[in-house]
Amino acid sequence: MNRLSWFNTVSLTLGFAFLYIPMVILIIFSFNESKLVTVWAGFSTKWYGELIQNQAFLDAAWVTLRVAVFSSTLATILGTAAAYVLVRSGRFFGRTLFSGMIYAPLVMPEVITGLSLLLLFIGIGLDRGILTIVLAHTTFSMCFVSVVVSSRLVTFDQSLEEAALDLGCSPAQAFRLVTLPIIAPAVISGWLLAFTLSLDDLVIASFTSGPSATTLPIKIFSAVRLGVSPEINALSTLMIAVVTVGVIAASLVTKRAMMRQRQDEQAAARTE
């Protein structure tokens, strides 16, 4: 192990402090006894208790979860299909245009995406509610899925699909039995990405949500405008916990799979 020089130690500390001090403060104050957010008055979990009884927050959380599950699933299907076509179909007229258009929403300002979707929904007379949020989230998150999946497909050995066809698969069977199981990790991480994007989206959701459906970020944002309550801190702490657990679990799964693969390959090399 190399010892870090004092310069590196300082930069590391500063960097992490910059990233995590706000969150640490938020977590600490979620356990504050006092109703005043900035004054510490002893440890308590009472805000968590109150949170569970706050029906408005619970409703918003339920809406958010449903929106995230539906939109990320829809985005994964569409994004994977788009990635597959763009990577596989080789050259066709307008291919560059199409792939450029797939990635444009990545850099499109959210306000513009939100506004244009709002105009569309009004134009076709679609009542704003869960459905419109799902559609809007699908629209902006499918390009993220498409990026993740196509980067996997580029390195995918196409002869595997040809082998499947050669052994009697129809093209659809070849995709289901060979391609999909192999690119599954990329598809799953695309889904997770879409899921988290949908969970924390505020701008697009506020354009496309209606009175019948409010997502958690909208709820938090509007609650904060009336003053930060310790309840919000508690809610945010829970969200941080969920995201942290999710990220750690995902990275552990990938790491274990990689380690197993390496061990297997070493074992194979020994038997050679």
Binding site: A163, L165, L167, G168, S170, Q261, E265, A268
Partner: protein, 375 residues
């Protein structure tokens, strides 16, 4: 013992399994296959040999159904297979990369094709076990492809492509990823398996030694055209062009002008101050016509004195010696600067070698040793 020689290509009654009829394949402006016709017979081990980019892989992919001819037709058992998609053809392919499914065990890889045919379970199990036995993979059945060695993976790929008992098996550079020793063993294993199963094999390779070893017939290709289709010995002994002679093995090419002497015997004047050479040839050449004389190095005899009865004899000095262990190749420089290679078997120890650098020597060969080729 089967006394009859396997040579359906010499039998006018024999029906070919595969027929290429004036097949042309173009990719944009590039012509990969140029008006090519070819018959391949049942139970043949047919090799498509050529440098990369000669169109051999395209021919294989057309047989598998991954490409369709731009013009012309391919017939399998008399039936035009152009409109049939790859999954409906009684043709299986062994891929260069093996293309084993990484998420399936060896057993499931081999069973994959059989499952698509909805084969009843007991039959399927019996067939997979049979394939595992044939390729000596029984103890690896439960492993995943990345848990076995390269040689074993090659055998899994073979077992998987043979499992459906195809009429025709295509092998795309099947041994390219193996090291030399393993490759040689595997070549004989392939021939064994081909004989046991009686399947028609078409192999694509750029390795001429491999093609010569395994194949019943070899097609030498260049730029989308067949240069010569014949048995390995004929390809080697009687190449029909300088390209084929040069592509297969080592060869000395001497350029000259032919003069007919007697029937099938020609005198070749090839250099100022050098005695003319004599060669027999069945192809008729006009007097004064430019020609090439191709002589294999092992057919050139090297000696200190001029052999008394030699028909062709030229003098030179040893310029270089390539010692290969079992053989030595002498590069002999003639008075006009031409280098002729002569090969001898090292039956004696190297310390007893008769010639060394800069020794004056005589090179000689018979009238039938060389092949006379038109320009």
């Amino acid at each position: 013992m089967n006394a009859t020689i396997f040579a359906p290509w010499d039998d006018p009654q024999a029906k070919p399994l595969i027929q290429f009829r004036n097949v042309t394949k173009r990719f944009g402006v590039f012509t990969a296959i140029d008006d090519l016709s070819l018959d391949i017979y049942e139970r043949e081990f047919f090799a498509l040999l050529g440098p990369s980019g000669c169109g051999k892989t395209t021919m294989m992919r057309m047989l598998a159904g991954f490409e369709t001819p731009t013009e012309g037709h391919i017939l399998l058992g008399g039936q035009d297979i152009d409109p049939i998609p790859p999954n409906k053809r009684a043709v299986n392919m062994m891929f260069q990369s093996y293309a084993l499914f990484p998420h399936l065990s060896i057993w499931d890889n081999i069973a994959f094709g059989l499952r698509r045919d909805n084969m009843p379970k007991p039959d399927l199990e019996a067939r997979v076990e049979e394939m595992l036995r044939l390729t000596r993979l029984e103890q690896f059945a439960r492993r995943k492809p990345h848990q076995i060695s390269g040689g074993q993976r090659q055998r899994v790929a073979l077992a998987r492509s043979l499992a459906k008992a195809p009429k025709l098996l295509l092998l795309d550079e099947p041994l390219g990823a193996l090291d030399k020793k393993l490759r040689q063993d595997t070549q004989f294993e392939l021939m064994d398996i081909q004989e046991k199963t009686g399947t028609t094999f078409v192999i694509v390779t750029h390795d001429q030694e491999e093609a010569m070893t395994v194949a019943s017939r070899v097609a030498v290709m260049d730029q989308g055209r067949l240069m010569q289709v014949a048995t390995p010995d004929r390809i080697y002994e009687t190449p029909n062009s300088v390209y084929v002679a040069d592509f297969i093995g080592d060869v000395n090419i001497i350029e000259g002008r032919a003069t007919a002497r007697t029937e099938e015997s020609y005198q070749i004047d090839w250099a100022e101050g050098q005695p003319p050479l004599t060669a027999k040839s069945t192809t008729a050449l006009a007097t004064g016509q430019g020609c090439h004389l191709a002589i294999r190095p092992e057919k050139v005899t090297i000696s200190a004195e001029r052999p008394a009865d030699a028909i062709n004899a030229i003098q030179g000095e040893v310029h270089d010696i390539a010692y290969l262990g079992n053989l030595s190749t002498y590069h002999v420089k003639l008075a006009n600067g031409t280098i002729i290679k002569a090969q001898t078997a090292n039956t004696r120890r190297i310390s007893r070698r008769s010639f060394t650098w800069e020794d004056p020597v005589w090179l000689s060969w018979t009238a039938t040793a060389a092949v006379l080729l038109e320009h």
